[in-house]
């Protein structure tokens, strides 16, 4: 316990030590689920699922107000996974939070399963189906506008891939969100630096990515997106910002958490072999 005289800063850091340990443990558990789900499915996108696990874990287990047993609760904060190919991470998070049984996770991508290859609104906790890139920010903006119109104080979060920012619609929505002063909206860009065909800077240069969002009228925060303490602080800051939406550029590693997958683009869209899966799970233990 901290003393009565501790400063506010120390207060936060004391609180965070426990919270951060819990989040990191949770994130490790989610990563194991992701590895296993994609292995069992025989296909999927492990790289970009692993890079955003810490952001998703922090959102769902620290920042967002939500009731897993009441997915339609009107006061809930909303999350839209715009980079829909990270569906395994979202499903693992939702199951871990209690939206549906964890035992359903291995049905990912199987015929008849609700766990479609890309997020489907049939799944409790999934607000909207996604998968085709570039669309989540528009949808999140619409929900944020409805929140303002109805004078509700929920927050809306969306996670975009960095390669996804090649899509023109992202910037149509970026313009709109600042025009309509959607300060109840936070967009997080999973800046893992890689897209299917290679380095983002080689395929379609994104830099200066923070400058672009800033120029579009957003409050911009750059963080290490694999560090929960930085994610917590950025999300807290976003809540305080008035009059404009916040973009968090979360610098991450594709394949984060598994030594032989980190920063290796081959794992964008292929499942792990049995041997790779076993090593990966060992590393996470």
């Amino acid at each position: 316990m901290h003393s009565q005289g501790a400063s506010k800063l120390e207060d936060i850091s004391m609180m965070n030590i426990g919270a951060i340990k819990r989040l990191d443990d949770k994130a490790r558990k989610i990563r194991k689920q992701v590895i296993n789900m994609i292995y069992v499915a025989g296909s999927g996108h492990p790289g970009g699922s692993l890079s955003c696990v810490d952001v998703l874990t922090t959102l769902y287990f620290h920042t967002m107000n939500h009731k897993p047993l009441e997915p339609e609760w009107t006061g809930r904060d909303r999350f839209i996974l715009s980079k829909g190919h990270a569906a395994p991470a979202l499903y693992a998070i939702l199951a871990e939070a209690g939206y549906f049984p964890v035992k359903k996770l291995p049905s990912l991508r199987k015929m008849g399963s609700m766990l479609q290859g890309h997020p489907d609104s049939k799944v409790p906790g999934v607000e909207v189906s996604s998968g085709s890139l570039g669309q989540g920010l528009s949808i999140a903006s619409g929900i944020a506008m409805a929140g303002k119109l109805d004078k509700k104080n929920y927050s809306v979060y969306t996670l975009l891939g960095d390669g996804e920012c090649d899509e023109g619609q992202v910037w149509e929505a970026a313009m709109l969100a600042s025009h309509y002063k959607l300060d109840n909206l936070t967009a997080i860009v999973d800046r893992n630096g890689l897209q299917i065909d290679g380095l983002t800077e080689k395929i379609m240069c994104l830099e200066p990515i923070a400058g672009k969002w800033r120029a579009f009228g957003w409050h911009v925060i750059e963080i290490d997106g694999n560090k929960s303490v930085e994610i917590i602080e950025a999300l807290d800051e976003a809540k305080e910002i008035r009059g404009k939406p916040t973009a968090i550029i979360a610098h991450t590693f594709k394949g984060k958490g598994i030594s032989f997958m980190e920063w290796i683009n081959a794992f964008h869209g292929r499942a792990l072999s049995k041997e790779e899966m076993e090593i990966a799970l060992q590393e996470l233990s």
């Binding site: 609104s121 607000e127 909207v128 189906s129 996604s130 998968g131 085709s132 570039g134 669309q135 920010l137 528009s138 949808i139 999140a140 903006s141 619409g142 929900i143 944020a144 506008m145 409805a146 929140g147 119109l149 109805d150 023109g168 619609q169 149509e172 929505a173 313009m175 709109l176 025009h179 309509y180």
Partner: protein
Amino acid sequence: MELKSTREAYGDALLKLGDDDNSVVVLDADLSVSTQTNKFAKKYPERFFNVGCAEQNLIGVAAGLAIAGKTSFASTYAIFSTRAWEQIRNTVAHDNLNVKIAVSHAGLTNGPDGASHQSLEDIALMRIIPNMTVIVPSDAIEAEKAVVSEASRAGPAYIRLNRVETPIIFEENYNFVHGKAVLLNDGADLAIISTGTMVYEALEAAKMLRRENVDACVLNIHTLKPIDKKVIIKIAKETGAIVTVEEHSIYGGLGGAVAEILAEKYPVPMRIIGVNDEFGESGEYQELLKKHGLTAMNIFKSVKELLEIKNHEIPRD
């Protein structure tokens, strides 16, 4: 003859909806004067959102508002809505969202603006999407009733409206029923199945045919999807020959929909009148209709050709 455009009727319908239902929101992509959403914007500025000329975003934002419980009307020109076809398919239709895509300047009605601003493929593009409703009103009264009716029905709809003023066909007390064909003229010799602006031309053609002792049945298909299969099959059985007519490509629109049904259930000699496999061009609306054979006179001629086949059993090539 009273004239009114279906887009004007749409603007009026939105005002009514705005009064009655505060969950109705309207979005436009920088064409609010042309689409007539400006009337709603003036009266309900807090429920009107201009997204600028950004059609993909228009659909996405409308979807987000619908997810949050609103009935979203999203408007632009017909042709530009198809620019967001994949957003319409993957978000609006896939999740069966309450987004009504109400588009103006459809078909050739945007005449002088030329091919880039005309829309001759949209019915086909929208009809093929699961969960999607496709409505093509034939006059201003039907348009207004259809808009109000669709607002009260959950799920997506594509409502195809026109720039030009067209004749009023229906009475004020007309009752629009989603998915139900409207029989406008009884006749046993042959049926003219029409939609949108061509319903009036079909009725005119039927009058010309009457002078030659031909009784043509005229059917108005305002709901292209879900289409009234039962009535189409019944009419095919009763008349034995069908001409379809639409201000759209001959591929994939009304003619396609009717042919899909009859080929399986009750094949009869048929003619599809529409714009042949080509683009439009600049010109006055009436000139363009004439060029593409979208006139009562051309329907009249096609009917007579088809009757030859029906009555003399000329082998079909």
